[in-house]
């Protein structure tokens, strides 16, 4: 069933991390290929002509693009190992709703935090924290968003943790101080090998952001 599996990825991408975690959770072997986004490979351009973006999951030569679609695909094909998406239709809908929320808010707000200053940055920080608080509410007293085991929402959200240090340094604030429950949840996730091995070091991500800021001429 595994066949040939290749993941075209870029080490700091939180979206790529989602697929890494999903594959690791299910113990599925695959070939990881690092893309240089300033010099995209022919394979990437051929496999994702519409967006030309990573991650791209190539299964037996056929590409699946968009991380949330990849995670769903992985869960459907390897459905008997470590299911990520709940089996109850209503719980699935709730999980999909929150993943959609994360996709609409977290990356964009996080980007504003490191890219902007002054009022724009202040607003982004405020909204970012509000979003995390809403997610904390959804987590409630559960160990993971998925309940007792890692689920779809956990996999979609935890990669952004690798960027938290960068956001905090650029935005001069503490995410843990505002959202302790979120950080407690992150720490539980990081105890899982599938997560710990899929996320890069936060300091490395921060250095990467600093380089990007230089390249884009952002203060």
């Amino acid at each position: 069933m595994a066949g040939e599996l290749v993941l075209l990825d870029f080490w700091p991408s939180p979206f790529g991390m989602r697929s890494r975690i999903a594959l690791a959770e299910k113990g599925i072997p695959y070939e990881y290929r690092e893309e240089d986004l300033r010099n995209k490979s022919d394979l990437l351009l051929q496999m994702n002509p519409v967006h030309k973006k990573i991650p791209v999951l190539i299964h037996n030569g056929k590409p699946v693009c968009e991380s949330v679609i990849q995670v769903q695909y992985i869960d459907e094909v390897w459905h008997d190992k470590a299911p990520l998406i709940p089996s109850d239709p209503y719980q699935r809908a709730v999980a999909r709703f929150w993943v959609d929320f994360i996709d609409k808010k977290i990356y964009e707000l996080g980007s504003k935090i490191w890219k902007t200053k002054g009022e724009e940055q202040a607003n982004a920080k405020k909204e970012f924290i509000e979003c995390l608080k809403l997610l904390e509410g959804e987590l409630g007293d559960k160990t993971y968003f998925g309940g007792e085991s890692l689920g779809y929402v956990d996999v979609a959200l935890v990669p952004f943790y690798s960027w938290f240090y960068a956001y905090e340094k650029c935005g001069d604030f503490s995410i843990e101080a505002e959202c302790p429950k979120m950080i407690a949840w992150v720490k539980r996730c990081m105890q899982k090998e599938s997560v710990a091995k899929s996320l890069p070091d936060q300091e490395k991500v921060y250095e990467f952001i600093l380089q990007l800021k230089k390249i884009f001429g952002i203060e």
């Binding site: 056929k62 699946v64 695909y73 239709p89 699935r92 709730v94 709703f97 959609d100 929320f101």
Partner: protein, 228 residues
Amino acid sequence: MGEVKVLGSWSSPYGLRVQWALGLKSVEYEYIDEDLLNKSQMLLKYNPVHKKIPVLVHNGKPIAESAVILEYIEETWPQQHPLLPKDPYERAMVRFWINFLDNKDKVAPFMTFFTGVGEEHKKAVNEAKELLKLYEEQVLGEKKYFGGEEIGMLDLAMGWMAYFGVIEEIVDVKILDAETFPRLHAWIQNFRAHPVIKNNLPDHDRLLQNYTEKRQRFLAYSPHTENA
């Protein structure tokens, strides 16, 4: 299979997707029309995060976001008129295209086609045509429907095209014409003719009147309005 309510808005393609899906599966539901300028307490209660329609309420439990609702409908009523293919890869492709066309950057040209004027409008026309070309050639291809022989989830997501003609009429610019996009044009005819869709399209005259008024307002407020 329990009580089903849909909170929608008469001209919203996102709400219509949900109504069409339920109609195709012969699921009875109560439709509640929302005035988006005066949202009901019910809507704010059922969708506190986004405060938007559509919302599906099944046995008192709410679900928001049309793409999420469609997946729920498919999973809850799987036997009648399946909306997704069985093969995981084909499902991934359907989800990819729904995700693509719902992206705000891909919706924007069609919005600006309606709201914009001058250079901004010209740019929107070009971008819209490129997207339509992609949809016609790469997504629909030779198929009767995006879903193949039968209407599927992607057809429902593309359903806004079924009454885009009214917008073109009001703006007085045609982009989705039969010569340039023969397959999309044929798809629109087939889609509109389906009994479930036919009985669930926004009223033409109401659309015309309502959207003409809206267009006038955009033109009146726009600093770029060319003299007629």
